[in-house]
């Protein structure tokens, strides 16, 4: 009969469902970091303004050092090849020599046949000579082998040293580059801090100025109040005097008027002084405003260029190009040239196009004269951050 043991429970389905979800989670977690690991840069700003001086070329210098090292290595390898050839040459000569010695032998034999007496001596001599030549050849061979071995060892040693040196140089360049990066980062941070501080100082000064103005106004109001009181008193006194003594009153009134005029003059002098002080603080504030305007101009240019910048697809994140921008007096673009290319021509072109699309920078006209001259010529550094 059919199964009567069934009654499907919930245990197995629960395990299967949980397993399925765990699998989905694992897949989503595992695959995503893999694809996300590529852009580790943390720059939000895609274009950064560099001061009018060109950016340090430490990286370039490191590159140059590397190429120089490579060049130096090339002659060495050539020398090595020459040495090898030298070593081969004597070896080729040797067989010729050994061919010559049998010839001498045969000559000696012929002479011995002609002259019996001289034969033995000649034979012995020939033998000796042959032995000597052989010994010499062996010695030479040994010496040459040893010399060659020594030369090869030296060469290997030299090569190893050179490699080490090169490695050391590369490491040093790397370290230098890192240090410079850190320094640049620190400088940027310092710059940002300075800006914040400046802003705070400006705000404080503004508050100070306002307070001064308020005080002055209060003072002026108080003075006006006093004046009014005095006038009232004077009028009262005048009325009294009119009632009592009309003749004397006229005289007194004239005196009082004079006194009032004097008082007014003093007051006017006071006010003049105040105004002078105010003018001075205004001048200071104007300078601050100029600084602020310059900063905001940098930001405006940066933002405009960022928005106009279309990064070519497929350009890697570590590309960087510096564009020199020259502006006309009213902010129109005179010239934008690459001062330090990234090596990727489409990337460079996109940077120049971004600057061209972002012009004219009309905000330049709002800057004070000194700042205008400063910002007529500046460098923009393009580095693609991670674009999200």
């Amino acid at each position: 009969m059919a199964r009567h043991d069934q009654r499907v429970g919930y245990g197995l389905p629960l395990i299967l469902a949980l397993g399925l979800h765990a699998l989905v989670v694992v897949i989503s977690v595992v695959s995503l970091p893999g694809s996300d690991d590529e852009p580790p840069s943390s720059a939000i700003v895609q274009a950064t303004l560099v001061s009018t001086e060109t950016a340090t070329d430490q990286a370039q210098r490191a590159e140059e050092a590397r190429t120089r090292a490579a060049q130096r290595q090339e002659p060495e390898s050539e020398a090595e090849a020459a040495d090898a050839e030298d070593a081969a040459a004597p070896e080729q000569e040797e067989p010729q020599e050994s061919e010559q010695t049998p010839e001498i032998d045969s000559q000696a034999a012929e002479e011995a046949e002609a002259l019996d007496e001289a034969r033995r001596a000649a034979e012995a001599e020939a033998q000796r000579r042959a032995e000597e030549a052989e010994r010499q050849a062996q010695q030479r061979q040994e010496q040459e082998a040893e010399a060659e071995r020594r030369r090869r060892e030296q060469e290997a040693e030299r090569q190893r040293q050179q490699e080490e040196e090169q490695r050391r140089r590369e490491e040093e360049a790397e370290r230098q580059r890192q240090q410079e990066e850190e320094q640049r980062r620190r400088e940027q941070e310092a710059e940002r801090q300075r800006q914040q501080e400046e802003e705070q100082r400006r705000r404080e000064q503004e508050a100070e100025r306002q307070r001064q103005q308020e005080e002055e106004q209060r003072r002026r109001e108080e003075e006006a109040e006093r004046l009014r009181q005095q006038e009232e008193e004077q009028r009262r006194r005048e009325e009294e005097a009119e009632r009592q003594r009309q003749q004397e009153e006229e005289q007194r009134r004239r005196e009082e008027q004079e006194a009032a005029r004097q008082r007014q003059a003093a007051e006017a002098a006071n006010q003049g002084l105040d105004r002078a002080i105010e003018g001075e603080s205004d001048a200071v504030a104007n300078a601050e405003q100029a600084q602020e305007a310059a900063n905001s101009f940098i930001n405006l240019v940066r933002r405009a260029v960022e928005q106009a910048w279309v990064i070519p697809p497929g350009s890697s994140d570590d590309l960087a190009a510096t564009v020199q921008v020259r502006l006309g007096p009213s902010g129109e673009l005179f010239a934008a040239t690459i001062t330090q290319g990234s090596g990727n021509s489409s990337f460079d072109r996109s940077a120049i196009q971004a600057v061209e699309a972002a012009q004219p920078f009309n905000e330049l006209r709002q800057l004070p004269g000194s700042a205008q001259r400063r910002f007529r010529d500046f460098n923009l550094r393009f580095t693609p951050g991670d674009i999200r």
Binding site: P13, L16, H21
Partner: protein, 229 residues
């Protein structure tokens, strides 16, 4: 930056309401999958059992023998259950009344009860699946709307509204919708599939009940003729 864009990080940094919505959706998804697996197993067994029983029933075996072979009432399922209920009622009524109409009426009633129990057993929890299928997209959408609301509120505080400041919030909010769809899509597919299958099985049971009824009817017809003769 990209670390903050990974899905676990986004889920962790979501607001409480959105996290709650996500939790509800995950629970709904897990439960719906439990139902899917459990129902799939039950349907498969029921189909196999029905096939076996029908083969046996139509193999010409004696019905009394078949009744004795089948186990107790509570353990039988499907057409077997219907058969047992009908045959038991038939045997009981046969001793009490001689009216064939009364006997057939009783048999039909008891078979209908058994069939209805089978229907209840087969379609158990399918309503839950339908609920998850229709409700979870809305729940996910609610989470997304809530998340985007929060993102715009915080956006109003920010000085500069660039794409980079908005993107993580929106991505985070959209995860809720993704989860809702993730729960809803399998639930819809399997609800349709399982309800169709249970409908077909119930149709088979009904057919069997009718056939069995006609067999009993034939039997009674013969008996009453014998009795009257």
């Amino acid at each position: 930056m990209n670390d903050s864009m990974s899905i676990p990080h986004l889920i962790m940094s979501a607001s409480t309401v959105v996290q709650l919505v996500m939790l509800i959706l995950v629970i709904g998804s897990i439960l719906s999958w439990v139902v899917i697996f459990q129902r799939t197993f039950i349907m498969r067994r029921a189909r196999k059992a029905h096939q076996e029983f029908e083969e046996r029933f139509w193999s010409g075996v004696d019905l009394n023998e078949l009744y004795r072979e089948t186990p107790a009432e509570q353990e039988t399922q499907g057409a077997e259950h219907v058969f047992r209920a009908g045959f038991r009622e038939f045997n009981r009524l046969l001793t009490k009344t001689r009216s064939p109409e009364a006997i057939l009426d009783g048999v039909q009633r008891s078979m209908r009860v058994a069939w209805s129990r089978e229907e209840d057993r087969l379609t158990l929890h399918l309503v839950f699946l339908a609920t998850v299928a229709s409700a979870s997209p809305y729940i996910g959408l609610f989470g997304t709307v809530w998340g985007i609301m929060g993102s715009f509120q915080s956006l109003s505080m920010a000085q500069q509204a660039t794409l980079a400041t908005v993107a993580p919030w929106i991505a985070e909010a959209l995860i809720a919708t993704a989860m809702g769809l993730f729960a809803a899509i399998p639930a819809v597919i399997f609800y349709n599939r399982l309800s169709n299958e249970s409908g077909r099985l119930l149709g088979k049971y009904e057919d069997f009940a009718e056939e069995f009824h006609s067999i009993l009817h034939r039997n009674l017809q013969g008996r009453s003729e014998v009795g009257s003769a």
